[in-house]
């Protein structure tokens, strides 16, 4: 039992940093009258661990090429699960936790039309079974340019958006019959025409559809969309569908009351740049407090794990980050990162204080 006192702790209810105390018992936040150690966090900012809402961390290993890439399978199958492709020793995990990102929603590559069952994992460096927070979170799809170009190269179906729509409908029907527990469908899409397909599918099928990226959403009139997995905007423009890509997107979402969470789509942008995405949204005029919420409790709520992690609240897993400054200052550094109550990263210079 450890008692952390005097930190500026992010309160997810008020969305503000408040001087307060919290306790950790084993893997959980838990209030108690007895405690063994007391740690003074005076002057530090404390947030729940950041959650990357779409990432390929562990699935597409950094620093090597095809040998470490398990993010895409040419022949699709709805039984595929990302859990079978995650390598816990991808060096990206250590970098992610050193930047306060403690868990990720793993979604396979944009090249796959039909992706796989997604999962949410902790960035703790052991076995994938210990890392998993929740399996079968959603089914992933990717439509538009990426899916088309993959199949064009091999001269196979689908070569057109019509072909993509047909395959999506067939697959959604299969999922409905074979995987009744999965309700979420996440779809990578940039172009307005592809987003309109999702709006149609939303009316045809009883799933919760969520768009990943959504670059051209502002072109739609009155888009009533479920939470968008937005970003990354800190990346180069790779193809025509992304020409409008800019952090201005975040402001446009806010202006149109479209709920969104943030992602890096690591390794497209680096998992270490998750806070930077929020900083760019702040630059465009969004409130710091709302962006910290979107990176933590907001993401957990969207992913359906708010009862497990995402807030500093009794009964939840003790995933939290100690920062030397407001986490959305561009030069803020992580002093220490905790996953399930255990310190998994410490900035050496600062911890000797």
């Amino acid at each position: 039992m450890t008692r952390y006192i005097n930190g500026l702790v992010f309160n997810s209810e008020t969305r503000s940093f408040e001087k307060s105390n919290f306790q950790v018992h084993g893997q959980y936040f838990k209030q108690s009258n007895t405690f063994e150690t007391k740690i003074d966090l005076d002057g530090y900012y404390i947030t729940p661990g950041f959650i990357d809402s779409c990432s390929q961390i562990g699935l597409a290993e950094i620093g090597i090429r095809w040998e470490g890439d398990d993010s895409f399978e040419f022949e699709s199958n709805i039984q595929y699960s990302v859990v079978d492709g995650i390598y816990p020793f991808d060096t990206a995990f250590k970098k992610a936790i050193s930047h306060g990102v403690t868990s990720s929603h793993i979604v396979p590559s944009p090249k796959s039309l039909i992706g796989a069952k997604t999962a949410i994992i902790h960035h703790t460096h052991t076995t994938v079974d210990e890392m998993v927070i929740k399996q079968g979170v959603a089914y992933s799809f990717s439509i538009g340019q990426n899916a088309k170009s993959t199949f064009f190269a091999e001269k196979k179906k689908p070569l057109t958006r019509m072909g993509i729509a047909k395959i999506m409908r067939e697959t959604l029907q299969q999922i409905k019959e074979q995987e009744p527990l999965i309700r979420k469908i996440v779809v990578r899409a940039h172009k307005a025409v592809d987003i309109e397909l999702i709006v149609r599918l939303q009316q045809e099928f009883e799933f919760d559809f969520h768009i990943i990226h959504g670059t051209e959403i502002p072109l739609l009139e009155d888009p009533s969309l479920n939470t968008v997995i937005a970003g990354p905007t800190f990346r180069h423009i790779e193809h025509n569908e992304m020409m409008a890509l800019s952090p201005k997107l975040y402001k446009q979402f806010a202006a149109n009351s479209i709920p969104f969470v943030l992602c890096t789509d690591h390794p497209i942008s680096n998992a270490t740049h998750l806070a930077l995405e929020a900083c760019l949204a702040v630059r465009e005029g969004l409130l710091r407090q709302d962006m910290v919420y979107a990176l933590t409790t907001g993401a957990a709520t969207f992913l359906g794990i708010e009862h497990i992690t995402g807030s500093i609240k009794d009964g939840l897993l003790a995933d939290f980050v100690v920062w030397n400054k407001h986490p959305l200052d561009l030069d803020a550094k992580v002093v220490a990162t905790f996953i399930k109550g255990k310190k998994v990263y410490a900035w050496e210079e600062e911890m000797t204080k």
Binding site: I64, R65, F234, I268, D329, L330
Partner: protein, 380 residues
């Protein structure tokens, strides 16, 4: 005469002055300093409490030459041969490319751009302003360096994909030496002829005569050492591009005496040779007094995010002053253009950026970008 006031003008001069007024005449800085009485004939621009820095400089980018959206018409790498010294940035830069607009949106007013890293000898780089009606009007230095590449990229393109030489680092080094050896053997008359007729060895002669540096792409420690070894053999000026593992052999880099352009460490390592990439390199080089500029390598990190590359170095321990200098005056010094760009000082080109907040604050947005005294970007 145009006078800008009601702003903090961060001069980035020797004394790190912050001034109150900036006077521009004919695209040059006529006066920058404490507030003075404003002459009757002057046009006065109120900047409403903004923060002004010199225009940012990125001395390693592929602005205007990398096709970006349609890879099949990329004009940055002449893949047909590993040895293409006569390729020149000026023949591939498209001044209407959107990357120039993005540069202005991010406050970048000068870029060094040109061939990429597929070839052992890629070609000649140039230094350009990011705005102006014609390519020649943007030109600062037409032949700013002979660009070559060591390591994985030429190995991958030629050895791995084309199944031809160079497949190894040995052959890469040999191809590089070959140009210098052949150029060094020429008589004085032959050298003059070569330069006059723009023959294949011309760039090597120019490098041997100290007219421009050799710019070598090197990530891994062994490639950095090969670059230094070859430059010392032929007694030529070398600029280490990327220098990704430089922090692991920092004493050797320091002892070489060569300058570096570091980055793009904001990128997720996508290949083995960049797996040790870290923004901490900036702080380590600073501590060892190794001269460096910070780059984007656009499009790999988009040019509009140059400022964020400097911010990330601050997160990893670099002081703010050096961070700002590494994308302004220090970058200018490394390309010998500090008499014209890189700081707000009298007589220099009027390249400057108006920010809503101090440059490294999260909220800081580029409000306006000026090149040669003319406003080329304004935020909506």
């Amino acid at each position: 005469m145009i006078i800008y006031h009601h702003a903090k003008f961060i001069a980035v001069n020797e004394q790190n002055d912050i001034f109150e007024q900036l006077w521009i005449e004919d695209g040059r800085i006529d006066y920058v300093g404490p507030a003075r009485e404003i002459p009757d004939n002057a046009e006065v621009v109120d900047l409403h409490g903004a923060f002004v820095t010199p225009g940012l400089i990125d001395i390693h980018a592929h602005v205007g030459t990398w096709a970006e959206v349609t890879e099949d018409i990329n004009d940055a790498n002449e893949y047909s041969e590993p040895f293409t010294p006569l390729m020149h940035a000026l023949d591939s830069v498209d001044i209407r490319h959107f990357s120039f607009q993005h540069a202005l949106e991010g406050g970048v007013t000068t870029v060094q751009t040109g061939p990429g890293s597929a070839n052992v000898i890629g070609g000649i780089w140039s230094i350009l302003k990011t705005a102006g009606p014609t390519l020649s009007s943007r030109l600062l230095v037409e032949r700013s360096g002979l660009k070559g590449a060591l390591g994985e990229n030429p190995k991958n393109v030629f050895g791995n994909q084309y199944k031809r030489k160079p497949m190894t680092r040995m052959a890469i080094a040999q191809l590089l030496r070959d140009g210098f050896q052949r150029a060094a053997r020429l008589s004085k008359e032959e050298k003059t002829e070569h330069v006059k007729h723009n023959l294949e060895l011309r760039p090597f002669i120019e490098v041997l005569q100290g007219e421009m540096p050799l710019r070598l792409h090197c990530h891994r420690a062994d490639d950095i050492m090969t670059a230094i070894r070859i430059a010392k053999e032929f007694n030529v000026q070398l600029h280490l591009e990327h220098c990704t593992e430089g922090h692991m052999i920092v004493d050797a880099v320091k002892a070489s005496g060569f300058n570096t352009t570091i980055g793009p460490y904001m990128l997720t390592p996508s290949k083995y040779e960049t797996r040790n990439s870290t923004p901490a390199i900036a702080k380590i080089f600073k501590e060892h007094h190794i001269p460096f500029a910070i780059m984007t390598d656009h499009p790999f990190v988009p040019i509009q995010y140059l400022k964020y590359c400097a911010s990330e170095a601050i997160r990893y321990g670099l002081d703010e002053e050096t961070a700002l200098r590494s994308i302004t005056i220090n970058a200018a010094k490394l390309v010998q253009l500090d008499h014209r760009i890189g700081s707000l000082e009298e007589g220099k080109d009027a390249d400057f950026v108006v920010w809503s907040h101090p440059i490294f604050e999260t909220e800081a947005k580029v409000l306006q970008t000026y090149v040669n005294g003319k406003k080329h970007y304004e935020a909506e």
